[in-house]
Assembly symmetry: C2
Homo-oligomer: 339 residues x 2
Amino acid sequence: MPTIKEVAARAGVSVGTVSNVLSGLSTVSQDMRRRVEAAIQDLGYRPDHIARSLKTRRTQTLGMVISDIVNPFFADVIDGAQSAASEHGFTLSIINCRDSAELEKRAVETLCDRRVDGLLVVVSIERGCHEHLQLAIADGTPVVCLDREPLGIDVDTVTIDNVAAGQQAVEHLIATGHRVVAYVGGSASMYVPALRQQGYLAAMKAAGLRHILIETSFDRQGGRDGAARMLSRAKRPTAALCGNLQVALGLLQEMRSRGLSTPEDVAVATFDHFDWLDVFRPQLTSIVQPAYRIGYEGAQLLLRRVLGQLNDSAPQRLTLPTQLRIAESTAGFVGFQKT
Amino acid sequence: MPTIKEVAARAGVSVGTVSNVLSGLSTVSQDMRRRVEAAIQDLGYRPDHIARSLKTRRTQTLGMVISDIVNPFFADVIDGAQSAASEHGFTLSIINCRDSAELEKRAVETLCDRRVDGLLVVVSIERGCHEHLQLAIADGTPVVCLDREPLGIDVDTVTIDNVAAGQQAVEHLIATGHRVVAYVGGSASMYVPALRQQGYLAAMKAAGLRHILIETSFDRQGGRDGAARMLSRAKRPTAALCGNLQVALGLLQEMRSRGLSTPEDVAVATFDHFDWLDVFRPQLTSIVQPAYRIGYEGAQLLLRRVLGQLNDSAPQRLTLPTQLRIAESTAGFVGFQKT
DNA sequence: ATGAAAGCGCTAACAG
DNA sequence: CTGTTAGCGCTTTCAT
């Protein structure tokens, strides 16, 4: 690996000039520039990113702390963030935390030690303390939180309007004729489910209906458990809103194992949609989240902070639009009611 | 951010001693060690990873070049790699290339410029030239290829036995009574499909059956196209092996749109399985790949190279076992044949 | 066992 | 416009 010194020697110029050529400084004469470029070519020189970072205190690297990388939703988020980063010549260092607050804390520290220029973080789903984020920010590392809005901390966020989306979905259920509607999945102690519940509650209240909150874990098992509880109620719900797709899948699974189907027995709406869902029947009514954009806009925002284009303005709160996609799983309730 | 110098000053020792304490050198006296540790505590000192890297020429970072991050298969691979890396104090820098050879080349260069200690790469699906990998290796960056075994280059690989797996699946189809069996998805110009076809061909030949190779793109659209071609054949296949899950889903989608279902009209077996598939009917007969392990073992192997525990031994070729999971989509052909 | 000092490869003043 | 030089924060001889 040739160094800048060798390039300078070969081109018969000083290292400073080489450095200037590298950084595209216009004050370099055509002649010098050509000689330096030739030397770079000949030697196959590539600047040492590490050395540059040590001097400039910038790594051109964004840290990404993700709560659950195997959830396809977050795969899309990562994809978006990665694209935005690439466009700006930044690289992404990713750590998966499996929704563990402890791992999350360590991840933030690891990334800060490595002097990432900024941090994209999806905090663990359970509400908790976020002083590690606070510390990172205090140390001068900009942070943008994705998907979940941590409490008690002033930080840029890119999220969707979970309350409104949940409310809209439930309004749809109600408009379809349902009067006994449950919310399933996650609990009020979790960031995202808390809001989605809130939307559900608002819609139920507005319609003068009694709410049925079924709190469970926020995964497939939660969906199965929730279904079991929901179906054993004296007054069985005719419709349910699920907190995320994992929950919905678990719920459908449990329903099927009991010989029940949707929408005939229970109409189902859920947060999240992935294109492969189109393959299966019944198609699920779902709240489509702009996962890729959450990552893309998040990285974009972070990059603006990093590049100083947002000089300590107040924390930005970007809310991206969702789309309610009505499909078979909530169809045909009004008018005919199977038993 | 305090530096090692400030720690030294505060502890009243030399920076060399602090460095020794940091690296856990035993030659440091108890007394010194305590004083230094106290100073580190007081100041909240954290070693600068960049400066250390410049000196040691090691970044404790693995580069990961992935062909398609939103494919859940690769999400699992990444998860595995990330776990192994974390266990060894390494971080993962990930670049997504969307199966573009050009992006892949740039990604490798970017990562090498950043002096990653090693490279985990899933090469683009289309066969191509891999001199960028060759160069990286020549420059002293160990490379481990995952899932796909690039041709014409001596490199460590972690893969599955695609030929055997494909063959086994087709043998199952044949044993179930099928005589007209198609292979759908991908083409011989692609790394993975080429091998899966090979397995298919071997099984068909061994059974003395005529093969039906339907080459398409390696995605949902490919599955739809493949289904269209398959179903319009004079002698319509009664079974198909799909090259991956995307293809299988596309195929099922196209079948359904024509009012056909599996296994009644066409039995379907496919590579890939994800747990959410269990929710849907019919359950698909599938070849389960150890995606997480591919990533985990790959990173593990790379780390051994990086840490010099495999001193330029010959390239390792790790082949992980797959599992044929027989389910409804290939059930019940012998004995009763619906028309 | 500890300290002093020489860099790692680069950038950024500053001088000329 | 170009060259010189002093570090960035750390590790690592080499003396002591």
